[in-house]
């Protein structure tokens, strides 16, 4: 079913891009414990990505690596949030907080999908995302309610990432159709729960919900971010240098 496969690409590409971004932190984190923690989260996301891309690939007779390494930028389906640069640690935590809140709501519902494979991956991912959310929330508190500088940086991180929140909850025809069939979760249906989950964390961290408008475009279409091509350039370079090689 190509529709289900495309949906798996939506979710898998998100996880892959985020894993790639987080992977860059390893050996550069503010504490050695964070090298470990960020590597953990990166591996979880990469794990989701591998599972979802492999599943998507069954529809087109492609492997996870075919899909990860041999699609060009316009063919990816990720949202712009996960493609945003790491920036400083505050910016990364802002991205993590938003995405973990979103994935928490998504996977808790997707584990009831009528598609058994998606239900299984969501159930597994949900347990991991609980940790990601805890990690992001703890750091949001520490940074927001830490020093003046950390408060400013964390607030700026949220400001930078917030334009890409709305895209997480945009529906399209494919999603509407799959959710009617009980396979996908309709993104718009998650927004309220997301807001209720993230707002108290931001408030407790003495931070403010950013007053910034949603960035036009996105919606998993050809209107992706300028960053995507840079991410893929690095990720795909070696695989493409030796097409057909095994590793």
């Amino acid at each position: 079913d190509e529709d289900v496969a495309t949906y798996a690409l939506y979710l898998g590409d998100d996880a892959l891009m985020l894993a790639q971004r987080l992977g860059h932190w390893i050996s550069r984190a503010p504490e050695m414990e964070e090298d470990v923690a960020l590597a953990n989260i990166a591996q979880d996301q990469l794990g989701h990505a591998r599972f979802l891309l492999s599943y998507a690939g069954t529809a087109w007779d492609k492997t996870e690596d075919d899909l990860a390494y041999f699609r060009d930028a316009p063919e990816f389906r990720s949202v712009r949030l996960v493609e945003q640069p790491n920036g400083d640690f505050g910016q990364t935590i802002a991205r993590q907080l938003i995405f973990a809140c979103y994935q928490y709501e998504l996977f808790s519902r997707l584990s009831n999908s009528k598609d058994e494979t998606l239900a299984a991956v969501a159930a597994k991912a949900f347990k991991e995302v609980m940790y990601h959310l805890d990690h992001a929330a703890q750091w949001t508190l520490r940074l927001g309610d830490g020093t003046e500088e950390s408060h400013r940086r964390m607030q700026e991180g949220l400001f930078y990432m917030w334009p890409y929140v709305e895209e997480l909850f945009q529906d399209d025809d494919l999603l509407r159709d799959l959710s009617e069939r009980g396979i996908a979760v309709l993104p718009s249906s998650l927004r309220e729960a997301f807001d209720q989950r993230i707002a108290p964390i931001i408030e407790q961290a003495t931070l403010e919900l950013p007053d910034v408008r949603a960035a036009f475009g996105g919606n998993r279409t050809g209107r992706y971010s300028e960053h995507r091509d840079h991410i893929l350039t690095e990720m795909q370079v070696l695989a493409r240098q030796f097409p057909g090689a095994k590793w």
């Binding site: 892959l16 894993a19 790639q20 992977g23 860059h24 390893i26 050996s27 550069r28 984190a29 503010p30 504490e31 050695m32 414990e33 964070e34 090298d35 470990v36 590597a39 953990n40 990166a42 591996q43 990469l46 794990g47 990505a49 591998r50 891309l53 996870e64 690596d65 990860a68 390494y69 400083d88 640690f89 505050g90 508190l141 520490r142 940074l143 309610d145 830490g146 020093t147 500088e149 950390s150 940086r153 690095e234 990720m235 370079v237 070696l238 695989a239 030796f242 057909g244 090689a245 095994k246 590793w247």
Partner: protein, 318 residues
Amino acid sequence: RAGQERFDQIIAEDSRIEPRDWMPEGYRKTLVRQISQHAHSEIIGMQPEANWITRAPSLKRKMILMAKVQDEAGHGLYLYSAAETLGTSRDKMVQDLLDGKAKYSSIFNYPTLTWADVGAIGWLVDGAAIQNQVPLCRASYAPYGRAMVRVCKEESFHQRQGWEILYELSNGTPEQKAMAQDAVNRFYGPALQMFGPPDDDSPNSKQSMAWNIKRHSNDELRQRFVDMIVPQAEALGLTLPDPDLKWNEERGHYDFGELDWDEFMSVIKGNGPCNVQRLQHRREAHENGAWVREAAAAYAEKQARRNQDAADRHLIGA
């Protein structure tokens, strides 16, 4: 006096020293130096491999590589903890590293130029590390030995994964095989040097062996390592870059050629290809993270104060 006797007895019995036990200053200093160097090596050693995380050529390899570099961070943390039981703080040890006062294994001052280098590091560098580390699981200082047990378990995975990377390359396209051979050519000598200078030039070894920290001499360990990797290289179909390497029936060991000890000493003294780069990478991570660590400390303090205030209010019935 009683402490010294007790210490000597523990060593003589090949038992274990615990942090609460009395120990000679030289023993303590030697251990702090050795364990912290080992911890620094894990932390600096993340860089050459992390250099390929974003470019790993398959998702499976990317996953394995992330896990491996993560393990190195973990090993660094165990080892700093073990060293801290000897009374030196992790902050102090890390500061010595950042100030260029502390040493780390000089192999990490070589660059990873291709993907095959990730394989060569796994196979040769982790292989040599294991050879060094397995006997350290029985080191007389108990916390060190315990840390090494955990480290060794994971290292043997790493060596196997490195070997597998090279195996795939060696059995891949001609370009892949050439890449693997080139990596082995560059890492073989430095890997053999990881055991330290020849025994004649290794003045500290004797004392370490007397204290049951070290169990085998540098040259013994090096020989074992060579004996181990020669058949592995054959299984890989790769050549070790040493024309003098050959089986010595009489000794029951492989003979091998003289290593370039001038290069070794010069890399140790600071002119490896990447010494400055590695330290700057570490310093940058540390400096860029300063505001985060300060925030965490400030937040912890606020929380402690809030808890105290709550307890006080409870006490006065407010």
